[in-house]
């Protein structure tokens, strides 16, 4: 069902955890879908210096969260805002069709975190 890349990110998720002095935090998903993602950002000079995630959800939700943190790190805010859920799924060599809707929200969580950062620091 899952690609090797998904399994790799599920088995060894990158950047799990929270950032105590995060300056942007974003949450998406809801409990009835069974997927909740939370992204913590540390932005310095408009660049994402650190990013961590916590996820309640299925394998795909954990893998996309992990992948989005890898993709976001080092990017400028503007570059990160261009990251789409679709791009995350592609970076994982695809997701099962039924996972595209509920579990592929990691980029949304990242965007929420950036929005939160901008509101506080804009």
């Amino acid at each position: 069902m899952y690609t090797d890349k998904v399994m790799d990110h599920f088995t060894n998720p990158r950047n799990v955890g929270s950032i105590d002095d995060a300056n942007g935090v974003g949450e998406v998903g809801n409990a009835s879908c069974g997927d909740i993602m939370k992204i913590y950002l540390k932005v310095e000079d408009n660049i994402i210096k650190d990013v961590k995630f916590k996820t309640f959800g299925c394998g795909a939700a954990i893998a996309t969260s992990s992948m989005v943190t890898e993709m976001a790190i080092g990017k400028t805010i503007e570059e990160a805002l261009e990251l789409s859920n679709q791009a995350v799924a592609e970076a994982l060599d695809g997701l099962p069709a039924k996972k595209m809707h509920c579990s592929n929200l990691a980029a949304d969580a990242l965007h929420e975190a950036i929005k939160n950062y901008k509101e506080a620091n804009g």
Binding site: G34, I36, T55, F56, G59
Partner: protein, 405 residues
Amino acid sequence: MKQIYLDYNATTPVRPEVLEAMLPFYKEQFGNPSSVHWAGRAVAGAIEKAREQVAALLNASPAEIVFVSCGSEGDNMAIKGTLEALKGKGNHIITTAVEHPAVLETCQYLEKNGYDVTYLPVDCDGRLNLEDLEAAITDQTVLISVMWANNETGNIYRIEEIGAIAKKHNIRFHTDAVQAVGKLPIDVQKANVDLLVLSGHKIGAPKGVGAIYVRRGSRMVPLLHGGHQERNRRAGTQNVAGIVGLGVACEIAAAEREEVYQRMRTLRDKLEDGLLAQIPEIKLNGTPDRDHRLPNTLNVSFAYIEGESLLMNMDMHGIAASSGSACSSGSLEPSHVMGAMCVEITLAHSSTRFSLGPETTEEEIDTVLEVLPAAVQRLRDMSPLYNCGKSSSEACLICETVRRI
């Protein structure tokens, strides 16, 4: 890595004796049982023998057994066929909120076609109140359908008492016994059941075969029209090898059931006790009274984590189990059984079923008890719900949202 299969309620391996009995019917004895010649004759007898074996396990007579392709077909046929045969007598069905989709979705389909359906609620432990059942009966009620045992929780329903109620009110009684057959003693006479469905692949026979007990005199419109097979009750060339396999599996079940019950129950109790003792914030789903649960089934929710990811984590250790989470069911909703039991939504997504089989060993249970605590902790450490609110550095909007649902 050793593979540990604890998903017997989903499907079972075919027993070697069963496969051995089946093989000739793919080879020399490949005839069509309806044929007059040697190739047909060699086969017709085998089907009738299997019919006797199935009947014996249920205390039915062979003429009351109809072979079908799976439990779902049996449930569809029993319900739709009975209602159509009784058209004009009434349009009300009583069933429960915790039935298998083969029953529930059939009832929902019938609702769209002019039938009234009462879905009896269950309590937090999944138990049915028989007073509710009796109170739901109207003069339009023509069918009661209550499963013998639930596939997710293992809860056993009081079929004998329900049978007595149905008989008293002269209402047809169907029971989905797919999970009960082979695990519990079944006696269709004692239970006053009119229609009972079983499925081969849950009891060591192959996938693609099942049977339905139809009490003599219970009229039913066939679901499959056509040939004269199964005394005009189910058209289609019979799955001879599968039917032979089902017969042998029933014979084995009759011989070994009591011993297997004890063995599975001892191991299941060990698993249940062990998990509840070792892992904090864990919830048992189903009745705590183990005598009223299938001997092989344990369903628990581990707070803060989602079921599919736990399954995948266990899978990394070779352990196969199943989950009521939306993600593992192919639907977007978590298990309707957990919903009916008012299990809080994140706990429903986390519900995890371990179902043992005759081949399960103590060593396997010990491994699960070793592996699980760390696997659960690993996912909890990743979860935004875990310890949330205990950290003072942030407002915990999510937790509140979740708890409100």
